[in-house]
């Protein structure tokens, strides 16, 4: 059985973002990078499935982006993926979801993966489209927002998370793609021996031009902070003073302190 997991490398979301010179995405200077949080759950679930199936199965991790994304791929390899495919694209950040999906489809089309895992959404772009579009492009079954996954005999039983904590149970026959939600599992920390082993695992490099030939369907024309709604007070300074300021405000504006 062949399994694919797609991961994206994203900036630390606690960073300050400012527009790049083109004004359509963020400036990457001084940003720290990590694996998209949702994709950590996807990798963990893929590794679990790989362990369940044992010998004769293979788990490939794929990422599209500039050279720095290899760092995130190494983490996935240390978590238990067998090999990596790096689609080299220094302009991946300005590709639209349809192009990212088309690239994955072009790679996966002849490989006959039985199960494909993606995150539900990327934290920086947040389109929640790539996974579903890949499934549509490959014409395979798909379910989104998984908080439960089990596999047996060519059938996936998945738990989809709905609003208010309700869950929907669905069954899919493989080949199938699932998108992973926060809390699906507990992503493992790579151990030192596994980090060492991962260094020897293969990461194939493919240029984006070899896979993608379609234009974007949508374009970002501006990247900017939200308009300030105002109203709120922002307090900064020494903790002791802040405490007194807040207590003053709470006494004046609310009825909870008496």
């Amino acid at each position: 059985m062949k399994i694919l997991v797609c991961i994206k490398q994203v900036p630390d979301l606690e960073s300050r973002f400012k527009a790049n010179s083109a004004g359509v995405w963020f400036d990457e200077t001084d940003l720290a990078w990590r694996m998209n949080e949702y994709d950590e759950y996807a990798v963990e679930q893929a590794v679990k499935l790989r362990e369940q199936l044992g010998e004769g199965s293979e788990l490939v991790v794929l990422s599209i982006g500039p050279d720095r994304v290899v760092e995130a791929m190494k983490k996935a390899l240390a978590m238990g993926c067998d090999r990596g495919v790096h689609v080299q694209d220094s302009a991946a950040a300005v590709k639209d979801p349809a192009q990212i999906a088309a690239t994955v489809v072009a790679y996966a089309r002849d490989q006959h993966f039985d199960v494909i895992f993606t995150g539900m959404q990327s934290q920086d772009r947040g389109s929640a489209q790539v996974g579903v579009l890949v499934a549509a492009g490959l014409d395979i079954a798909c379910a989104t927002t998984l908080v439960g996954f089990s596999y047996s005999d060519g059938t996936i039983t998945a738990k989809r998370e709905l609003e208010g904590g309700l869950k929907g149970i669905v069954k899919l026959k493989t080949p199938a793609l699932v998108t992973c939600q926060l809390g699906l599992n507990v992503p493992r920390y790579p151990t030192l021996p596994n980090i060492m082993k991962a260094k020897k695992k293969d990461i194939a490099a493919l240029p984006i031009e070899s896979l993608l030939s379609t234009p974007p369907l949508a374009a970002t024309v501006s990247f900017h902070p939200p308009a300030k709604k105002g109203g709120g007070i922002v307090l900064e300074g020494e903790v002791g003073i802040l405490v007194d300021q807040l207590l003053g405000i709470l006494k004046e504006k609310t009825a909870v302190l008496r």
Binding site: A136, L172, I233, A255, V256
Partner: protein
């Protein structure tokens, strides 16, 4: 502009969020019709054409089948945009429809701008303006971004015959939300812990503040997923919706799914070391500080 709205139902009832779609149509000054898989006995109160597929035959969740029905309706209506809610139904179905129509999808629209759409990015900290390159576009709108519009018309129903083919994803039933050990809905004060609290060992600091204020302990999702606090304390779209007199968010960034559950609180205090955290958008007071220093200092003075 002519748009096709995709309504939602659950348990044979129209979901209230459907009226955010009509709100969007109003904001866009668009002529709208509505597609709806639901019960013929509980129709959305809208004017205009309502394309109705009976949920008894089509299922609440059968994405391939719903996609095919929407594609058929689009051929009939010829809309410029097909508009979904960015919900568990919408984000699952919209890309399937966009792929079938071979058009652009723009996700989580929060506003309209000349010739394009405003969407959130970077966990809600930033915005992008996106313009479709295709003549038709599929949109999902962020919940709460557009006003509810329950104008209450009576629709002109166009019944859609259910297709014979069934989908590849088989729906096997619901699993109810866990029973709630505590009802945060009644609390007058809620003090919630977010990932910024750092580790499980620090949760007692937040719990102590909640106690000192005579309130309950709440939590953001990562704190619950990590097992630091039980799920019954989670606030947000997949937890509880609350509206206390005072809500104190400790180390919570303010993702839309968290805000959806607490933005109706009377007074909101946020403690965050990041001055740009999106929680600042709705907080009455944003304290820029380390939560581990500030919270114990505040508790000590109560």
């Amino acid at each position: 502009m002519k748009i096709l709205l995709i309504g939602e139902s659950r348990d044979n009832k129209v979901l209230e969020t459907t009226y955010e779609l009509t709100g969007f149509a109003g904001a866009a000054a668009a002529e709208s019709s509505l597609f709806f898989v639901g019960s013929p006995h509980d129709l959305p109160a809208v004017s205009g054409r309502l394309y109705l597929a009976d949920v008894a035959a089509c299922g609440e969740y059968n994405p391939d089948l719903h996609r095919d029905l929407i594609v058929r309706t689009v051929a009939e209506e010829n809309p410029d945009a097909v508009v979904f809610l960015h919900s568990s139904y919408g984000w699952d179905l919209a890309p399937r429809v966009a792929a079938a129509l071979k058009v652009a999808q723009i996700s989580e629209v929060v506003g309209l701008v000349e010739g394009g759409f405003e969407v959130g990015c970077c966990n809600g900290k930033m915005r992008r303006t996106v313009k479709p390159a295709t003549a038709r576009v599929v949109l999902t709108i962020q919940s709460g971004a557009f006003p509810v519009n329950k104008e209450g018309g009576s629709p002109q129903v166009v019944a859609l015959a259910p297709p014979v083919a069934s989908g590849r994803v088989i729906f096997a039933g619901y699993e109810a939300a866990e029973a709630r050990a505590i009802d945060l809905g009644r609390a007058e004060v809620i003090v919630s812990a977010g990932r910024g609290v750092g580790k499980k060992d620090n949760i007692p600091l937040i719990a102590a503040l909640a106690k000192a204020l005579g309130g309950e302990l709440g939590a953001s999702r990562p704190v619950v997923d990590a097992g630091w606090i039980e799920h019954s304390h989670q606030v947000g779209t997949t937890g509880q919706s609350v509206a206390p007199k005072l809500y104190v968010a400790c180390g919570i960034s303010g993702a839309i799914q968290h805000l959806a559950g607490m933005k109706k609180s009377d007074f909101i205090v946020a403690i965050n070391k990041d001055k740009d955290a999106p929680i600042g958008e709705i907080a009455d007071v944003l304290i820029v500080a380390d939560v581990l220093q500030f919270v114990p200092a505040l508790t000590a003075k109560l």
